[in-house]
Subunit: 460 residues, 2 copies
C-alpha cells in the first residue's frame, strides 16, 4: 500500500497529464437532456471506462434504458479493509445560450483568473472536473503501491435529467454496488480556501406542463376576445403557485418540511455568510423567497417551486398577431426533509387541472423525482473526512447543506441503506448550468489531494 506523502507527490507530478485527460473528457459534448447528443454520452462513458481500466480498475460500460452507466472495481488486497463506492456523473447541461460564451463551450481553455488559473468549458466543474479529482487520486495510489481500501466507481449519464434510469440499475445491481460508504464529488467548497462537507441535499421533482386549447394557432384579430389564450391560462397557473409571503400554495406541499434542529440553526447563523455578497455576485440584492427565512435557509433547508422554461406562440423577431394553440412550462420543485415527491407532483397536477377554464386541456410530462436527504451529523466517516480536509486546506471545514439535488444519494439511502459523504471542490462563481462555466485549477489539483487524504483516513 502506498504511503500518503508519496501519493500526494505523485498527484503533484501528474498534474500536466491530468489536465490533458480532463480536457479530453470535456471535449465530448455529453449533453444528456437532448437526444441529439446520445452518441456523445456513450462516447464519454466509454472513455471513462477505458481510463479506469488503464490504471488497474476492472471497469465496463453498462447499458440502461437511457444513457449508459460506467462501473469499475479495484481491490486493495487487505482483508477487512473498508469498501467505498464513488459516484459522479459524466453528463452535462446544454450549453445554450451559445452567444453568451466567450469561447466555444466544448473546447476547454486554461485562463488566468484573479486567484490563479481556471478551466473554462461546459462540464469543467459540473461534474467532469469534480469526478476526475477522484480518478486522479486513485491513479496516484495505483501508480505508487496500491489503494488503501477497496474502491468501486459508478458514473452515470443522466444526472442532469433527474436520473430516470438509476433506480432500476441500482435494483438490478444491488449486490455488485454495495459498499460501506458512498463518496460523492458534485458539491461546492464553502469558499476558495474553506472546504465543505455537504450534509443536507434538497430533492427535485420535475414536471412539464403543456396547456392546449384551439386545434390550431388563431389570428388574434379574427378570434381575439372570444378564444381562450393558453398563454394566459399558463400565466395564471404560475401566478397562483406562490402567495404574497413567497409560500407555495399547493395543498399539502409543506407536509414533511421540518424546522432545523437548534444546534444546526445556530451553526448556520455563525457561518460567515454574506447574503448581500451572495446575491450581489449575480446582480441581485433582495431575497425573493419565503419571507422570514434567512438566505441560507431559503437555499439549503426550504422547498421551492420554479418555472425553468416557458414557451408558447411566436418567439421570433418582431411581432406575430397569433393566439397560440398551446403554451408550455417546465416546472421544478426543490424538496426538503420528508416531502414526498410523488405527493407534491400529484398535488401540482390536481391544482393545474382545477385551474383550467373550459376548452383547455393539459398534458403532463414527468422529468424525474427524488426526495431530499439529510445525513447524520454524528457519523464516524464524517469525522475522519473532516480531519483529512482540514489537513489539506488548513481550515476548519464547514458542515453545510446544498440547494441542488443529487438523486443517487437519496436512492442509495432509501434503497440500500447506505450513507453518502459529499465532498466537492466547486465554487459559487463556477457558473455551472450557465455560459462560461469554469473550474479553478486549484480545485482540480487540491481536490485530487483531498481525496487521497480522505481515502487514507477512511482506511485507518
Amino acid at each position: 500500500m502506498a504511503v500518503l506523502e508519496t501519493v500526494l507527490s505523485r498527484i503533484d507530478a501528474n498534474q500536466d497529464d491530468a489536465l490533458k485527460r480532463l480536457f479530453g473528457l470535456i471535449e465530448i459534448p455529453s449533453v444528456s437532456t437532448d437526444a441529439a447528443y446520445a452518441s456523445d454520452c456513450a462516447r464519454a462513458a466509454q472513455a471513462l471506462a477505458d481510463d479506469l481500466n488503464s490504471i488497474g480498475f476492472d471497469a465496463s460500460v453498462r447499458p440502461t434504458a437511457g444513457h449508459p452507466m460506467v462501473v469499475g472495481h479495484a481491490k486493495c488486497g487487505k482483508p477487512g479493509a473498508p469498501h467505498v463506492l464513488f459516484y459522479g456523473h459524466y453528463d452535462v447541461q446544454p450549453a445554450d445560450p451559445l452567444e453568451l460564451w466567450q469561447t466555444e463551450p466544448f473546447k476547454p481553455r486554461l485562463a488566468d483568473g484573479p486567484t490563479g488559473k481556471r478551466i473554462f468549458a461546459r462540464g469543467a466543474a459540473d461534474d467532469k472536473g469534480q469526478l476526475m479529482t477522484f480518478v486522479e487520486a486513485c491513479r496516484a495510489y495505483m501508480q505508487t503501491g496500491g489503494l488503501p481500501c477497496d474502491v468501486s466507481i459508478l458514473f452515470e449519464g443522466e444526472e442532469e435529467t433527474g436520473s430516470p434510469s438509476l433506480p432500476a440499475f441500482l435494483a438490478a445491481n444491488a449486490d455488485e454496488l454495495h459498499a460501506d460508504l458512498i463518496l460523492v464529488c458534485d458539491t461546492n467548497m464553502w469558499d476558495r480556501e474553506t472546504p465543505m462537507v455537504t450534509a443536507m441535499l434538497r430533492g427535485l421533482a420535475l414536471e412539464e406542463v403543456t396547456i392546449k386549447a384551439a386545434t390550431r394557432d388563431l389570428h388574434s384579430g379574427l378570434f381575439g376576445g372570444a378564444a381562450v389564450n393558453p398563454i394566459h391560462v399558463l400565466a395564471r397557473v404560475i401566478a397562483g403557485l406562490h402567495d404574497q409571503n413567497g409560500r407555495i400554495t399547493l395543498p399539502g406541499f409543506y407536509d414533511g418540511v421540518e424546522e432545523l434542529p437548534p444546534e444546526i440553526a445556530e451553526q448556520w447563523r455563525d457561518i460567515p455568510f454574506n447574503p448581500a455578497a451572495f446575491l450581489g455576485a449575480v446582480g441581485l440584492s433582495t431575497p425573493a423567497g419565503e419571507k422570514g427565512r434567512s438566505v441560507l435557509e431559503q437555499i439549503w433547508s426550504r422547498p421551492t417551486c420554479d418555472v425553468n422554461g416557458i414557451s408558447g406562440g411566436y418567439a421570433g423577431q418582431g411581432s406575430k398577431t397569433v393566439l397560440p394553440a398551446q403554451a408550455s412550462g417546465k416546472f421544478s420543485f426543490r424538496l426538503v426533509g420528508r416531502q414526498n415527491p410523488e405527493a407534491v407532483l400529484n398535488s401540482f397536477r390536481d391544482y393545474v387541472q382545477k385551474s383550467l377554464p373550459p376548452d383547455c386541456r393539459v398534458e403532463f410530462q414527468r422529468h424525474g423525482a427524488s426526495p431530499a436527504l439529510q445525513l447524520p451529523f454524528s457519523s464516524e466517516a464524517l469525522g475522519r473526512a473532516h480531519a483529512a480536509l482540514r489537513a489539506e486546506w488548513g481550515r476548519e471545514p464547514v458542515i453545510g447543506g446544498s440547494g441542488g439535488s443529487i438523486p443517487i444519494v437519496g436512492d442509495f439511502k432509501r434503497s440500500l441503506g447506505m450513507d453518502s459523504l459529499m465532498i466537492g471542490f466547486g465554487l459559487d462563481d463556477d457558473c455551472i448550468h450557465s455560459p462560461n462555466e469554469k473550474y479553478e485549477l486549484s480545485s482540480f489539483h487540491k481536490g485530487a489531494r483531498s481525496w487521497a487524504r480522505v481515502l487514507d483516513a477512511l482506511a485507518k
Copy 2:
C-alpha cells in the same frame, strides 16, 4: 372605356394565366417580421411593380426605412372621373410551425376542397391572393378599352409588423397618394356565398416586454428560493391584466370605448351567426372574453389584450434546472372606437413598471400602434359598392366589422381625411397566420369580377 360585360368575360378568359401570376408572387417568401427575408420582400415589391407596368400603370418601387412600397398610377382619360387608391400588402406572416404544413408553405398548390378548388400557401389569402383580385380586374379593363376611373395603387410590405414606415411615407407623398376614396382588399366575406363590406376595424397596439433580473442564468438548486424568477414576474403581469369578468384592468383602458348604436346592434343580432359553429371550427366551445357580450361584439366591437408569444429559460427537450436571467412576452391590444393607442400603451407600461419586484427591470419594444376605425354607414360609395356586390354574388351583402387591423385605413382617415371601402373575399377557414393557409379559387375569380363591378359602379 371598356364595357363591363366585356371586362367580366376577359377576367373569365384570363383565369389560368392569373393563377400562374399569383403563384409566382406567392413563391417569393416575403416575410416582413424576420430580417432574414428582407431581400425577398424587395423582390416581391419589384415583381408587383413590373407587373403593373406591363399592363399600363406607371409604377415604381419606393424605398422606406423598412421594406419598400410599390406605387402605381393609371388614368382613365375622362375629365372629372373619380380617382380611387387601392391598398394591399405583399408581406406575409412567418410560416412556422413548419412541421404542421402538409406541403411547403411557399410552394403554392391547387387542391380540391369540399366546395371547389383551393390555393394552399402562406400568403394565398393574406394578402397576395386578395390584392391580385384587384390587379386582375384592372388588367381586364386595360386589355379591353381602359379603366372607368383613375386608379392609383399602393402596396406596402410591413402590414404584418404594424406598418412602421407607413405614416412617414404618407406624409412625404400626400399629394401623389391623394384620391377620392380608398379601396382595400384585406378582409373576409360573411360566408362562402355572401359578400361583406367591412365598416368597423379594430386598431392594434403591439408591445414586447422583457423582464430582466440576475446578470446570468442561475442554477435553480444553488439559487432557488432566494433569487427572483423573471418567468414568475412575467406570469403575474399577465395574470393581472384581466379581471374575473374578462375585462382588462389597465387604468383608463376603456376610455373611448362606446356601445354600438341601437340599429347596428339590432342588425348584428339578426345576422345568421352561430357562435358555436364559429368557435367549434377551431375546437372551442365557450366564449372566453368579456362576460355579457355576444361573440360578434367580442371580436368586432370590444377591445382585447392578448399575449401572442412568451419565452424564457430552457425550451429544449427534457429539463434544465435553471433560473433564467430574463423572460419575454409579446403583448397586443385590439382597440375600438376612440381608444388612444399611445394612452393604452403608456398605461400598460406603467402597470408593468409598478408590477416589478426588487431586482427586476423591464425593457419595452414597441412594434406598432394604430387606432380603430369606423366608417359612416351612410356613405354614397358604400351604397354603390353594396349594389355591385349584390349583382355579382346574388346575395344581400353584410355590412359588418372586423376584429383584425389594417393600420393604413386609420392612417388615411386621420392623416388625409380619406375614407376606405373594405371589401375582401377571404373566408373564416382560410387559416391566415396559421399552417396550411388557403384561398378559395372562387374567391380569387369572383373577387376580380367583383372589383370590376365596383369600379364600374363608382365611375357612374
